[in-house]
């Protein structure tokens, strides 16, 4: 079996063309990054606002917890049956899949953002106010940089989940690496199915690693302690 998987992956023909691995890889990353960007645009401002003001915290914390329990495949079918007849063209298929991935990505990003802002040391905030900063300035110059590690780890865990789950786009006849899973299962081509699963796992790990490097380079050294103890 292992040999057949290696043989499948090593076959150059499987990497090329409209249904080749490279094309599917690009599609997969398109779905994942689009969903992640939309989710971040919604969740980060909302999370910062909640963390800064404390308003709506109870509601959002619980809503986010509940959202994590939504089964993606179930939501996919629900969204498809509801949205597809109302839309036309390629969007009728992309929108339901995108919705599922955005819903999946929001909770980790949102909780990272509000927990990050909430966890900023009150002394740092006080000092900023004492220096004459207004609310938005405190947010931009103190709270946001201090919350950055948690915000980024929220995005990172959302990315990991979205890449792993973007395989469900193939259920709706879209592309992405999920194609190999669905097509392989439908025609009992197990090397293809297994190769698809391996590719998704490798992609998820590679992106996660890349993200770790980004995180290392953008977070203030003062927070990570990489330059030793530096007072804020």
């Amino acid at each position: 079996m292992i040999n057949r998987i290696i043989a499948w992956l090593a076959d150059v023909a499987h990497w090329q063309g409209d249904d080749g691995i490279l094309r599917r890889l690009v599609e997969h990353m398109e779905y994942a990054t689009t969903a992640l960007v939309i989710a971040a645009l919604i969740a980060i401002p909302l999370g910062l606002y909640i963390g800064h003001t404390g308003k709506g915290r109870f509601l959002v914390v619980n809503a986010v917890g509940a959202a994590r329990a939504i089964p993606s495949l179930g939501l996919l079918y629900l969204a498809f049956f509801w949205l597809a007849p109302r839309l036309s063209g390629e969007v009728a298929f992309l929108a339901p899949a995108g919705l599922v991935l955005v819903v999946l990505a929001i909770p980790p990003i949102l909780s990272g953002a509000y927990a990050g802002v909430e966890g900023v040391e009150p002394a740092a905030r006080d000092a900023a106010v004492g220096m004459g900063m207004r609310g938005t300035e405190v947010m931009r110059h103190v709270e946001l940089p201090c919350a950055l590690p948690l915000i980024l780890s929220g995005i990172r865990s959302a990315m990991l989940q979205v890449i792993a789950t973007a395989t469900i786009a193939a259920v709706l006849g879209l592309g992405g690496l999920g194609r190999f899973l669905i097509d392989g299962l439908a025609s009992q081509d197990f090397p293809q199915t297994a190769s698809g699963a391996i590719l998704v796992a490798v992609l998820a790990l590679a992106v996660d690693m890349a993200f770790a490097l980004v995180q290392r380079s953008v977070v203030s050294p003062g927070l990570t302690g990489r330059y030793g103890k530096v007072s804020l």
Binding site: F80, F81, G89, D183, L185, A186, S187
Partner: protein
């Protein structure tokens, strides 16, 4: 997983044997033949492919068998033929509603027959030794290539052959396995010399295929002849003059060792009552009217005095 199922089945079978042995007066539990009797009288596991009509047919089979006092277990919506035939061979399921032509081509790479009786005869000879088919019904659920009314008018399409000059600009949609299956993309190339622009994997004549055809993601879709979406959307079914899509009569495929006279009679009685129009109407009740397949099956059986 398989082993566990087998052990469970073995346990059930031996429990049944013990029960039979203790009830029967003076019967010898070790007498030869005792075990085969217990096995053939054991539970019948009815499976189905993953589309509503097949699940409905499986419900009809299950209902008729239960009515005859046979213990039935249902494992519906298993997947495509490539998945459930191995399950039938390894004993995970015992009975499944099948279609003569597609099954013939699955078992027999050199299948040639296209007419209903020829296909049935050819299939009967090709079925593996552990399996068998019972009587076929008149009901036929054929694969068909279907286009929208607009597409049909635009290119003046009547049959699949009319697609030849324009196929290179059209997208074909169907279940994922159609890409490699003999009656799928390779068959369209071989029989009609069709090279579609792309093949888009969707579902087996389900909501994705209908939606994709309506929305124009695909120009030509593989939809079954009994599918209610055809009438609902005014789709045009393209004729098949060269018989790529062979006869597809509904037929019970069953593990040979599980068949007895009661089971055969019950299933053959169903086949005698089914035709394409009846089946189409039953499928509509499930797919369009959203009735429970078990309820629709029960109605059919009661009406025909089968359950």
């Amino acid at each position: 997983m398989m082993n566990r199922t087998r052990i469970a089945l073995a346990l059930v079978a031996s429990a049944a044997m013990l029960a039979v042995a203790s009830c029967g007066s003076g019967s010898d539990p070790l007498a030869s033949g005792g075990s085969t009797k217990a096995a053939s009288a054991g539970t019948i596991v009815v499976g189905s492919a993953n589309f509503p009509e097949n699940a409905l047919l499986a419900e009809i089979y299950a209902g008729a068998l239960s009515a005859k006092g046979i213990t039935v277990e249902k494992k519906l919506n298993i997947g495509s033929r490539e998945t459930y035939i191995p399950a039938l061979k390894d004993g995970s399921i015992d009975l499944i509603p099948e279609y003569t032509g597609a099954l013939d081509q699955y078992f027999n790479k050199d299948a040639k027959a296209t007419g209903a009786d020829d296909v049935y005869a050819e299939l009967k000879a090709a079925v593996p030794a552990t399996l068998t088919i019972l009587d076929k019904s008149a009901a036929e659920d054929k694969n068909a290539l279907v286009v929208t009314k607009e597409t049909a008018d635009k290119y003046n399409l009547k049959t699949i052959a009319d697609l030849q000059p324009i196929a290179k600009d059209l997208t074909l949609g169907g279940p994922p396995e159609m890409k490699t299956r003999l009656t799928g993309v390779p068959g369209l190339k071989r029989v009609y010399n069709l090279d579609f622009k792309t093949f888009r994997p969707l579902d087996a004549s389900g909501p994705l295929s209908v939606q994709a055809l309506k929305n124009g993601q695909v120009d030509v879709a593989n939809i079954f002849t009994t599918d209610p979406s055809i009438a609902e959307n005014g789709f045009v079914v393209l004729g098949d003059p060269k018989g790529l899509f062979v006869a597809q009569n509904v037929v019970p495929l069953i593990t040979k060792s599980k068949v007895n006279d009661t089971i055969a009679a019950a299933l053959n009685a169903i086949s005698a009552k089914l035709d394409t129009a009846t089946l189409g109407a039953l499928v509509k009740e499930v797919v369009v009217d959203k009735l429970d397949p078990a309820v629709v099956a029960k109605e059919f059986l009661t009406k025909n005095g089968l359950g």
